[in-house]
């Protein structure tokens, strides 16, 4: 066992209290926290090389009673090995059915300042880009109206403003919108779309992920803010098959950039990689999933007709190879985590859409998908689960898409065919 996970070292850490956080100056002045009850378990997590969330909470607790009570309640959870939050009840801002997660302490008599501890989901700028001014604006608003604690960012992509009271929701919202920010989605609604850095800073992006994500967000404000779906609906936009926002696993509609023509190849740069010691045969050709590449010691040949556009060779030889010029995206549907009927990876719905036609195609598709889902979906049934229940072929009929072989890894292997068996 390496030293880094030496259990004895951990126990020593546990046994010791430290003021490391105070030394680096982002945590409470000892004078300010003196009045607070001790939090020996959490204090332990101020130590060690990785940045500490406990320091962050303590820092906010210096001037904010909510954060101070959060710290104490969390210490109680660490002592008892259980959470102390309740959900339920509808809280929000006027005219919206989402964007606020209602949360209440189940021990409010002990920690009155987290009796309410609601979260605001604030729709992030596409690609999670900010100016320092924008960051300060969010901080100022949240210092005035909430705990002063955030998540940058939540799992779906929003800025999470963590913890405030029901009374502060509307004033916080007012300031946020005045500053140009709006709430994201929650509940059975269109959830906040998110995207990779795309054309902003990546040579592999096969479409403008930030623009498509932004435009779609703007087009569906009503669907985001007023839940009217059977369950949540997530969309994520990745510029290439590396899928940096995990769209295939985490979104009901995943849009993954790809290309149709040949990989762009710079032979001189390939030779340079070889000269610099890259084993092109072992690390590139032998790792190609379809063995579509040949290296004869001086020249790399790609049989593009065999290429499945996995990105491996481009990832390795990133100065020499690039996605082709005929760019667009594959659209996949139905990805989700386990709740309720089991996890699903999204599967191919449209094998290729040219990037110029992407936004229009997505709007048309979404309208047909939501119609079908609204008609046939059960309460709390994600679109992927509905497709599993009614069958992909019926779903395709329902939304008016023709089946194509790219939609399956293989045709069926059982002869129990519903319907007319293709007799017509």
């Amino acid at each position: 066992m390496p030293d880094c996970c030496n259990l004895r070292a951990h126990r020593q850490v546990i046994a010791r209290r430290s003021d490391l956080g105070r030394k680096v100056g982002i945590v409470a002045n000892p004078e300010d926290v003196k009045a607070q009850p001790k939090t020996p378990l959490l204090d332990n997590l101020e130590e060690g090389p990785w940045p500490s969330f406990v320091k962050e909470i303590k820092s906010a607790a210096e001037t904010n009673e909510m954060s101070a009570d959060l710290l104490q309640q969390l210490e109680l959870s660490y002592e008892e090995k259980q959470g102390h939050w309740k959900h339920g009840g509808i809280v929000g801002v006027r005219g919206y059915g989402g964007g606020v997660i209602g949360r209440y302490s189940d021990v409010p008599e002990k920690f009155p300042h987290v009796r309410h501890f609601h979260t605001l989901r604030v729709n992030q700028p596409a690609g999670w880009f900010y100016s320092s001014e924008a960051i300060r604006t969010l901080c100022d608003i949240w210092e005035r109206h909430g705990s002063g604690l955030t998540n940058m960012h939540g799992a779906t992509g929003d800025v999470i403003l963590l913890g405030t009271t029901t009374e502060e929701l509307e004033p916080a919202f007012k300031e946020l919108t005045a500053a140009g920010f709006d709430l994201g989605g929650s509940g059975s609604a269109m959830r906040t779309p998110s995207c990779c850095v795309g054309e902003g800073r990546c040579e592999w992006s096969c479409y403008d992920t930030m623009k498509v994500s932004y435009d779609l967000t703007q087009a569906y404000q009503d669907e985001m803010h007023r839940p009217a779906f059977p369950y949540k609906f997530k969309t994520k936009f990745s510029g290439c098959p590396n899928d940096c926002v995990a769209s295939i696993a985490r979104s009901d509609l995943a849009v993954i950039g790809t290309w149709k023509d040949e990989i762009q190849q710079d032979d001189e740069a390939v030779a340079e990689y070889a000269a610099n010691g890259v084993d092109i045969q072992r690390d590139v050709c032998d790792r190609c999933p379809t063995r579509a590449m040949n290296w004869d010691g001086t020249h790399l040949t790609i049989r593009n007709e065999d290429c499945v556009r996995c990105m491996h060779c481009i990832n390795v030889l990133h100065k020499a190879l690039r996605p082709g010029k005929e760019q667009g995206a594959v659209i996949l549907i139905g990805g989700k985590a386990p709740i309720v009927q089991g996890a699903l990876l999204a599967s191919v719905l449209v094998p290729f859409v040219p990037k110029e036609e992407l936004f229009e195609t997505l709007q048309e598709l979404l309208s047909r998908i939501w119609d079908f889902w609204g008609e046939y979906g059960n309460n709390r049934e994600r679109i992927g689960e509905l497709i599993q229940r009614v069958g992909l072929a019926n779903f395709l009929d329902g939304i008016g898409l023709d089946p194509v072989p790219q939609m399956v890894s293989a045709p069926r292997d059982n002869p129990y065919i519903y319907g007319d068996g293709g007799a017509k």
Binding site: C4, C5, H10, L45, G48, P49, W50, P51, S52, V54, E56, A60, Y78, K81, Q82, W85, K86, H87, Y96, P125, G127, W128, S131, S132, I135, R136, L138, E143, G148, T150, M152, A155, K174, T177, G180, F181, D182, S194, C196, G200, R201, C202, D208, M210, Y214, Q218, N242, D243, D283, R287, P289, R309, M311, H312, A337, P338, I339, Q341, L345, R380
Partner: protein
């Protein structure tokens, strides 16, 4: 109605346009990037067709950030990156620099503030995680504490790029999996192991019985009359502890300090590079909660990382390495016990049975 609505109330404006947050170098070269170079762990240089360069310095963060730290990031951005910064899908912070000479001073300041620089290429990037006991009602464990303890142990893997391939760890504090836990190289997943404890009194007031019954994926919840009132009962042997009933009905709490804990999953990925995206598979069914540092969880994760680092070939992700050596070898090398819990018994379980005579011993 209309006269009571203040005229200036702003709604449905959506997020601010990203355009105003883009560094001028990025704006000028948007969509015209040619290639990138990896200058050091956590430091990238993207080169545009115009020849212009933008440098990225990436630092780890705890995700849970107070305004003081965020303002410190803003100050660093003003000082070194013309006021521009972004965050990554794995909750790292990135500063976008026009000047190469600003890289080292920025790194030095970040490290002095306690934010390690790294997380690029064949490193372990930040652990994507959920709210845990900090904010979640259904958490079977904390999230931030385990992430902190694990990254303390794996910090050198964040600041170095010396693994066979990238390694992505994720943590979710219950089966809702608010994160791509199900497709991670190593996933830490909070699990409940006891059925919900029905609070009949509260149930009557806050829950719809038909919705509650319909919420159970295994049909384990049935209508029942309790003390003359409409309520439900749970067929306990049919419960798989998913917690879906608790999400639709707060009177069905799952928390159980002794029986809640963690499971470890391995071999998932979302990238299409080489092999297709795949789900993580069960490695360790249960580890009890042991705050504040969960040493057994940290040890289990580090063990898998170290065995992988030693055995995998260049560019093999954890799942690809296991597919090459086979699952029997994975259990043998890691010393993890294979149990009845590793055999799937949910829908389509048979697809995971070994259906050939291709056997490794």
């Amino acid at each position: 109605m209309s006269e009571v609505i203040p005229a200036k109330r702003i709604t449905d404006i959506g997020p601010p346009h990203y355009d105003k947050y883009l560094h001028p170098v990025i704006k000028r070269n948007y969509g015209k990037w040619q290639y990138h170079e990896n200058l050091a762990p956590g430091v990238l240089c993207h080169v545009a067709e115009s020849g212009e360069r933008i440098y990225t310095v990436r630092a780890g963060s705890p995700r849970l950030l107070g305004v003081k730290t965020l303002r410190a990031f803003a100050d660093l951005a003003d000082k070194y990156s013309e006021g521009y910064l972004r965050f990554t899908s794995r909750n790292n912070v990135e500063f976008l620099l026009a000047k190469e000479e600003n890289i080292e001073p920025l790194k030095a300041e970040l490290i002095a503030l306690g934010f390690p620089v790294g997380g690029t290429n064949n490193s372990i990037s930040n652990i994507v995680h959920t709210q845990g006991w900090v904010h979640c009602h259904s958490a079977a464990t904390d999230a931030s504490g385990i992430v902190k303890a694990a990254m303390d142990a794996l910090d050198h893997r964040f600041t170095h790029e010396d693994l066979p391939a990238k390694l992505r760890i994720a943590l979710a504090c219950c089966l809702n999996m608010c994160g791509a836990v199900h497709c991670s190289d190593i996933a830490i997943l909070g699990v409940h192991r006891t059925p919900p404890k029905i609070q009949h009194d509260a149930l009557r007031k806050v829950c719809e019985v038909p919705t509650l019954i319909a919420s159970c994926p295994t049909g384990a919840i049935r209508a029942a009359t309790v003390d003359g009132n409409a309520s439900v009962e749970v067929v306990e042997e049919q419960c798989m502890f998913c917690g879906n009933c608790y999400t639709v009905c707060p009177a069905m709490p799952m928390n159980d300090p002794e029986c809640d804990g963690l499971s470890i999953w391995v071999g998932g990925k979302v990238s299409n590079a080489r092999s297709e995206p795949k789900f993580s598979r069960l490695a360790i069914p249960f580890i009890p909660n042991n705050p504040p540092r969960w040493p057994e969880v940290v040890e289990a994760v580090v063990n898998i990382v170290e065995v992988y680092a030693k055995g995998a070939r260049k560019y093999e992700r954890v799942g690809e390495w296991i597919e090459r050596i086979g699952w029997p070898k994975f259990f043998e090398l890691t010393g993890i016990e294979f149990t009845r819990y590793h055999i799937d018994d949910f829908k389509n379980a048979g697809l995971t049975f070994a259906r050939s005579a291709h056997i490794r011993y």
